[in-house]
């Protein structure tokens, strides 16, 4: 076992983990952040996306120890029913949510994009969302939702 200290959604946790434990297992199993989903376990689907020091990562491909001393945002740290993030509101209003399993990862990828670039082009949105697979929607409504959220964030 090794010691790990990390910040998740602005709260700092100290815990002991196995050296070969994946970040997704630390988040889901040890800390209970089950909004982070596992779809493939090999970095293809993006359902396990979290934001690590401002950048999106597949938490199934990151070791827990690699998050030592770093800041993580999971879906539980983004918005709530009283104050949803513009991306979350846009996903609901555009009908971009079906089975919902890809949704937390999609929302985090879109949020990470808009945090850095509040006025992205359709191409930039496409690139930012390209690591997240959805089997239900056909992507069109998801891309429209991100554009709608961008308009709200940029005030355009």
């Amino acid at each position: 076992m090794v010691e790990l200290e990390l910040t998740v959604n602005e709260k700092t946790y100290k815990l002991e983990i196995e050296p070969d434990e994946r970040l997704i297992d630390v988040l889901r199993r040890r800390l209970g952040f089950t909004g982070t989903k596992e779809g493939c376990g090999e970095g293809e689907c993006g359902a396990c996306t979290v934001i690590l020091d401002g950048r999106t990562v597949n938490s199934c491909l990151v070791l827990g120890v690699q998050a030592h001393g770093r800041k993580i945002i999971t879906i539980e740290g983004v918005g709530d029913r009283r104050r949803p993030h513009p991306v979350q509101r846009a996903f609901v209003e555009e009908g971009a949510v079906q089975c919902g399993y890809c949704t937390p990862g999609m929302v985090l990828s879109a949020k990470a994009l808009l945090d850095k670039n509040s006025d992205p082009s359709p191409q930039e949105i496409g690139v930012a969302m390209s690591g997240n697979l959805c089997r239900c929607t056909g992507y069109d409504k998801i891309l429209r939702a991100v554009q709608r959220a961008a308009r709200e964030v940029s005030g355009k």
């Binding site: 376990g41 996903f91 609901v92």
Partner: protein, 422 residues
């Protein structure tokens, strides 16, 4: 009066999903739960000569190692109970479940599964439905389905074929085939099963068919249906792939035997092995039309690969037969649709349910006929399509609204350019 048409409706569960609050079965846990895994066959067709689970049982942290003899009624299936919960003797496909293991951690359960010793007698496998349906091919289900591997045959006959062919000025004859497809729903199967304070078996899963799961669990375990509760949590996509029961049966069995809550989660790879696939179909089509571009005759032979177990195959090949003409009126026809057992992964429900595959064949036939007749692909469809008052191949009179012509006129400019005849 308010109308839903034209109004915007928000999905009931969308908010819970955008906040990551929606609970899928992998997200629920119980104190004291153990973890289940299934050991599956690496061979498509084999007999189990020897199965030794002693080493697996002796591993520290293992709560149960169960085999076919631990299943009171070892069969399940949506139409026919031809699929074992755990194989007792004859393996019919890669991925057939052989042994169920539960342990204090998922890692220990997987390690125990590796300690199971199995000796196989490998049998020649049938991978091609055409070979499997020939007389003399080894029968894959003599106990449930008899000596033939042809699970289902539906002939559809209409009009007078000889007359139809005699009036045809052009004929196109062609073979088509589609491939096996996995649903690849994003959420791999997971389940949490427990025996609760009432002594009832409570199974939480992502399923398309909870009432059927309930009956199958009660049947396999030999307990009353009223003592089984199946709760459907959020379902992370299914597209037909969660109609057959999956891990629910094994988790229920392990929970019932150990009296501990049992959690199971498939990896993506295990998910591919543990649910049905879309039927690959081979389709031989012969279609005839007059010089004016009117369809007058069609013969089609459709063979669907059912894989190792029946699942919904008869219903799916029935649907393929009913849709074999596409949305076109053909007065004289014969369709023969078959579902055939092989040692391939079993096939079942997937979006379209058998209606999707023949599209390739009948629409390609229309394109080829249009080319032969030197008329536009839109024109040949307009001359033959279903309209109000049309009668389908199976004799169904379409008396309600048929919006096909209006639809085609609207989309045609996007599909074909003006003067596009070749």
């Amino acid at each position: 009066m308010t109308s839903v048409i034209g109004s915007r409706a928000v999905r009931e569960d969308a908010w819970g999903k955008v906040f990551g609050q929606a609970k899928y079965p992998a997200d629920v846990n119980l104190p004291g739960q153990i973890y289940g895994v299934v050991l599956r066959s690496p061979h498509p067709h084999a007999r189990i000569r020897r199965l030794d689970v002693r080493k697996a049982r002796e591993l520290t942290g293992v709560a149960a190692v169960l085999t076919a003899s631990d299943v009171p009624h070892n069969s399940h299936g949506v139409l026919f109970r031809d699929q074992p919960v755990l194989v007792s003797e004859r393996i019919r496909m890669v991925g057939d479940p052989l042994v169920a293991v539960a342990a204090e951690s998922p890692e220990t359960a997987r390690e125990a599964a590796r300690l199971v010793e199995i000796e196989y007698e490998l049998l020649p496998a049938l991978f091609n439905p055409e070979e499997a349906m020939r007389p003399g091919a080894p029968a894959l289900h003599p106990e449930v389905h008899g000596e033939s591997n042809v699970l289902y045959h539906l002939p559809v006959v209409k009009g007078d074929l000889a007359k139809g062919w005699a009036s045809a000025d052009v004929v196109v004859e062609q073979d088509y085939s589609t491939q096996m497809v996995d649903h690849a729903f994003l959420q791999p199967e997971a389940v949490l099963a427990q025996v609760d304070e009432r002594g009832h078996l409570v199974v939480q899963a992502a399923t398309q068919y909870p009432h059927y799961d309930r009956g199958e669990i009660a049947h396999a375990l030999g307990i009353k249906v009223s003592r089984v509760q199946v709760k459907t949590l959020s379902v992370g996509g299914s597209f037909g792939g969660r109609e057959d029961i999956s891990l629910q049966l094994v988790a229920a069995l392990l929970a019932y035997r150990t009296l501990r809550p049992v959690k199971m989660e498939n990896s993506r790879e295990e998910s591919f092995y543990s649910h049905c696939k879309r039927h690959p179909m081979t389709m031989h089509y012969k279609t005839g039309a007059t010089r004016e571009g009117k369809l007058v005759a069609m013969e089609a032979r459709i063979v669907g690969d059912a894989g190792a177990y029946a699942s919904w195959s008869p219903n799916i090949l029935r649907k393929a037969a009913i849709h074999a003409t596409g949305p076109y009126e053909i007065p004289n026809l014969r369709v023969d649709s078959y579902a055939v057992f092989t040692n391939n992964p079993w096939t079942g429900a997937m979006r379209g349910f058998g209606a999707a595959q023949p599209v390739l064949a009948y629409e390609s036939q229309m394109e080829l006929l249009a080319k032969k007749l030197k008329i536009s692909p839109v024109e040949i469809r307009l001359r033959n399509m279903f309209r109000t008052g049309s009668t389908t191949a199976t004799g169904q009179a379409l008396t309600g609204s048929v919006g096909l012509e209006e639809c085609l006129q609207k989309v045609a400019p996007f599909l074909w350019k003006e003067g596009d005849r070749e």
